[in-house]
Amino acid sequence: MASTREIRRRIRSAKNVSQITRAMEMVSASKMRRAQRNVLAARPYADRMLELMTDLAVRVQPSDRKGTLLDVPDAVKHVGLILITPDRGLAGSLVSNALRQMSRFILDQRAMGRNVALFALGKKGRDFISRSGLRLIAEVTNISDKPTLEDILGIGSNVLQAAQRGVDYNRSGSIDEGEQLDEVYVLYSEFVNTLVQRATVKRLIPVELPEATTVKPVDFTYEPSAEEVLDSLLPHYVEVQLYNALLESIASEHSARMVAMRNATGNAKDLVRDLTLSYNKARQTAITNEVSEIATGAMALEG
């Protein structure tokens, strides 16, 4: 039986832990609300952009799609994966789910004889990639909780370059000359609801457009030209999708952390209850022992 002092010490530390996790839960809750608002605020832009492109793509002949981001390559040899993870841990199974999904993705792609080049957004993913000796092309870390589109333009242009003209060889020379990414995917944490986040892989390149069911009978003037407008819209759309994936991952991160911290607070409370019970038992035992010792002593004297 542990000494009462030992138990008291453990009760105190469990209480401290529960206070910290409770505070973290509340911080995450407020950050989550803000992050969710950001996700919603960013939606109109992506929606309008998709509308514009759907209209436009109908006007651009399939033969003119060659070489653009709409071009679906005949054979896929090299694929890129952008891994979005939080910078910080203590978010329950969020990070491990993402990493497991990534491992599965890489194995699947390799089984099809494809090479995978990785891009990391966020520390947790980057650390895992470098620990496991996978090929990391570029990374961005220390992303703020309210990122702007500009924050991802760096990695966005990196990826776009890799998809159009081969990877930027200045970096570590880890990729062969002329290696062009035929497809690019993003792995992010889809925000389903506060309790559920899903590690999701989405294709960014080639850009997938919804089938235009009806061609609007509008005769647009395109300046400078339909092809040029589409050419500037496409890379932009890829960046916007990446940005939205990042926003959603941030909302997921905070809600996962909030839930994890709520569980931790509950566990710490349970622990305090159990320990208090043991403490009282130990205290009672000690008192009982003492009383019976005195009683035995008294009886011996009387005898």
Binding site: A42, Y45, R48, M49, L56, T221, E223, V229, V240
Partner: protein, 139 residues
């Protein structure tokens, strides 16, 4: 008869309003959009975007994007859009200095191009901030 205007950036909806005229910087030069303009889709450049409403001009600093005109509705998808009185002069000035320093010390051509773009952005923001809001239209 005014027209509907919407300015949207990747982060948020910046403005929804009824306006009389829009002057926008496009890749092919500045264009003015009046109500009932023909359908148009164009690529925006860095520059000053002027919104005319009730005889007043409100300038915005934009750094590229797209503009669609359809059914008496103007939709501007801007990379960034800041109204002149939202621009923080001190920050814009600091950004200009930083860009100039980066141009001085640019090692590669790519650095140079980036620094130049940054400088142009900062200059536009400064200029738009100086013009200020509520300027009357000259007759």
């Amino acid at each position: 008869m005014p027209m509907q205007l919407e300015i949207i950036t990747a982060e948020r909806v910046v403005l929804t309003d009824e306006v009389d005229q829009v002057n926008a910087p496009t890749r092919a030069g500045r264009v003015g959009i009046l109500p009932h303009h023909a359908p148009l889709l164009t690529v925006l450049d860095f520059g000053e975007l002027d919104i005319y409403k009730n005889g007043e001009i409100t300038p915005f600093a934009v750094t590229g994007g797209f503009m669609e005109v359809l059914n008496n509705r103007v939709t501007i998808l801007a990379d960034t859009a800041e109204r002149s009185d939202e621009i923080d002069l001190a920050r814009a000035e600091a950004a200009r200095k930083r860009a100039e320093e980066r141009m001085q010390s640019a090692a590669s051509e790519q650095d140079m191009v980036l620094a130049e773009a940054e400088l142009r952005r900062a200059m536009i923001r400064l200029r738009v901030a100086e013009i200020g809001r509520g300027r009357r239209i000259r007759d």
